[in-house]
Symmetry: C2
Subunit: 476 residues, 2 copies
């Protein structure tokens, strides 16, 4: 038997999570390692997922009045230095162009790690009056941050993302945008990714370099580690100051505007893979799956192939593929489409055809359902919705079961050594405690949940008075 | 009067074409100069145009089975050197990263000027059998080619494009793809850009470095210069050889596949601007215009604004904007939207409202039409179609009038000194004649039209026997 016909084997998710992650990405065809250190190739199947995410977000941005634009890849080094926290945060990760057109450059050019500095240089030129505000721009692009410990999707030297940059007349309006942006991401995660998490505010030490505050959506991975799903930043007037952004307000006075930025990257695909997959491979939520349904004729018989085509036509509102291949056994095919995480499989055999039926197999539960072809369209729609719902419920359940309220630091350490997960605990907001906890348990402050009640308690580390419970976890 | 309320003034297209081009781009808000040498910022209005072009092309690619993927921005220098014509062609234009993560890199990384070498390295890994073919992948991305004489959209150090790279079992199939790709571009130019041109094959000296043959669509600009609208390349087995691409064919033999690539860049926006615009500004073809219709209430009266909103709702299948602003005079507004090239303006005054009418003003002809509001939707649809058609007809007429059949080299020189345009002339295909003509007239061989008949003639330069008439022109 030729090698290409062997069933692809995955390491079990339950046995070796970290190897499973790599295996499932490579074998499902989502991505591949690139021959450039730290970089990856996003293959068509993975890019199809990204395109579906882009479509959803882009539509929501446009409804909100945010328009796309494109700013240069290269940023003069001096721009980055204008906001001092910003350059401090990014300088160890930069890729620098020193040769252009065959000559040594007089001014080195940084490949954008993020675009605040080049965008705000332009904004300073464009914004003159209150009439120019709000300025709401988004950019879909590639960014580069040198990565020493690369990992497919999660940490790559180059990655794709959207970065929105907005400028407002008032602080109130800017804060409203920061809130909208985060809620929008949370909705997309819940409704499309079928992933729940905890949204809230970052600690001072974990916020974006140059921001006043950073909001995020923290997601818990099956190995108990936390992944930051997106960010929405209140930049206050920090960058406005650094880039000399001013506008003439209605009252005739010159004022400094307020800025926000928010972004989501291809890193989110890492979360999608990890959260839903199982020992058999990926499990993609129907709303994002590049292929929602695969139809497999059990035999390569002409009448079955013909029927498969008819069914594809009946199901034209869905993303459907037929597996026509003759070289592979049915077992091979089932295995292959399971690795790829296609939410629903339709099996079509002679017996079924005679009875005007088909067998539907759900990827999420493995459940097989025999249905009448007459009601196919409705059944399929309902089942896809049920899969989407089930995946979100699973994610919610996992999050709930693995978020623990802890008041004793010994328990905290024990949990972080073993099962990990999220820990909810009082923290006095002193960065020293934060640093000590990190040193001793590898856990960092992930987020202060928006819904955290005002309470009285003692810091999990120093026992000083604390007023809120924060979420701790080991970060990806 | 404040400066911001002054009408924007353009240099006249008919008087100073080259300055008009810059003026209209900056003042219509399509793009701006970036603070990085040779780079530009594509502003939302310009990016909206590019998004409409992307949507059209992307849909056609997907119908053809071409899928999107993403390959790294950085290419190891040694990859580029594998195909010797390729590196020779691109090396003077490269931007090179020599520092990464704070350290001098052992191997320099080139910022992609095009992605053949990195993509084919991956293809060699992915392609094993005839079952893996055809492999049809496209990438939307940014590329960098160092530009010494930058010009907005036409020549910028960084630009955006799509590059499709396909691999085929047979030469015949590859050639079919090269043909399809070019025809697809030509259709998009004619149907959406409303631009006609001449499609055909490039001469040996003008083809893509590493290609066997290059096909293109040459467009004539109003100043008589030629612009290459796109390219579709037959790569033969050149790159397959350089990158060791092999596959096991059905007959059990190991073979080398055939490759093609084809691309279209943001340069096409330069053509769009130049071809259609006039002294008043841009004229955008309705099918690509980010805003197809602007509704302008003649007075800031509440009932007019209300009616404008109603009309926008009636016209919801179109891209409509209402100009609500109170600060500007009607004259200012008309001028502003004319610069922006919005195809159709709807003027709404009290008198018209009373008569249940509106005045439509065509941007392409300046014609004003009073129509009944009842038939608005149909009228608008017809007028937008008429504008689209008229622009294409104008472009055809201009092309026809400025393509001259020339048999005397003195006439050739005279034309290239004065009005320029396309010249159709016999050429013996000797590169020496090509070089001499270029030296003496600045004209290069643009293309051998697909429909060029087999004829007998004498080379316009050396008088040797020639069999086909080629198109000559001064290139952008």
């Amino acid at each position: 038997m030729k090698k290409e016909f062997e069933k692809k084997q995955l390491v079990k998710k339950s046995e070796n999570f970290s190897q499973w992650y790599i295996d499932v990405i490579l074998k499902s065809g989502l991505a591949d390692y690139a021959p450039v250190k730290g970089c990856q190739v996003i293959k068509p199947y993975g890019y199809g997922l990204w395109e579906n995410i882009q479509r959803v977000l882009d539509e929501k941005f446009k409804e909100k009045g945010i328009k796309n634009a494109y700013f240069p890849l290269f940023i003069p080094e001096k721009f980055l230095k204008r906001e001092k926290e910003h350059i401090k945060g990014f300088s160890p990760e930069l890729a620098v162009v020193t040769i252009g057109g065959g000559e040594e450059l007089k001014e080195k050019l940084v490949v954008r790690p993020t675009s605040e500095t080049i965008i705000y240089e332009m904004y300073a030129k464009w914004i003159k009056s209150w009439r120019d505000l709000p300025l709401l721009i988004n950019q879909w692009c590639n960014v580069v941050r040198w990565e020493m410990r690369p990992r497919l999707f999660l940490r790559t030297t180059e990655f794709l993302w959207q970065e929105a940059h907005t400028v407002h007349q008032t602080e109130e309006e800017a804060l409203e945008m920061v809130k909208w942006a985060l809620e929008n991401y949370v909705n997309v995660y819940q409704d499309f990714f079928a992933i729940d998490g905890i949204s809230g505010q970052k600690s001072e030490s974990e916020k974006f370099p140059g921001a006043k505050t950073t909001q995020t959506f923290e997601i818990l991975m099956p190995d108990g580690k936390a992944l930051q799903g997106c960010t929405s930043h209140d930049l206050g007037q920090n960058f406005a100051q650094a880039f000399n952004l001013k506008f003439l307000d209605k009252d005739g006075k010159e004022k400094m505007p307020y800025q926000t930025c928010f972004g989501l990257s291809t890193r989110c695909l890492g979360a999608l893979i990890m959260v839903h997959g199982d020992d058999q491979g990926l499990i993609l939520p129907p709303k994002l799956a590049p292929i929602q349904i695969v139809i497999i004729p059990i035999l390569p018989a002409q009448n079955l192939i013909q029927k498969a085509k008819e069914l594809k036509n009946v199901l034209k509102e869905f993303r459907v593929e037929i597996d026509f291949t003759k070289e592979h056994s049915i077992g091979w095919k089932f295995n292959e489409w399971e690795i790829k995480g296609v939410p629903l499989r339709i099996e079509l055999g002679q017996k079924e055809l005679k009875e005007k039926k088909a067998t539907l197999a759900r990827r999420d539960t493995g459940q097989k359902i025999s249905i009448s072809l007459e009601s196919l369209e409705n059944e399929v729609k309902e089942i896809l919705e049920a899969i989407q719902k089930n995946l979100l419920e699973r994610s919610r359940k996992f999050l709930k079961e693995n978020t623990k309220d802890v008041s004793d630091y010994r328990d905290f350490k024990e949990i972080m050594k073993k099962e990990k997960g999220f820990i909810k605990a009082f923290w006095c907001q002193n960065p020293k405690c934060e640093a000590k906890i990190k040193e001793e348990t590898k856990a960092t402050v992930r987020v202060l949940p928006f819904d955290a009640p005002e309470e009285k308690g003692k810091c999990i580390y120093c026992q000083e008075t604390a007023e809120k419970k924060w979420i701790f976890g080991q970060a990806y």
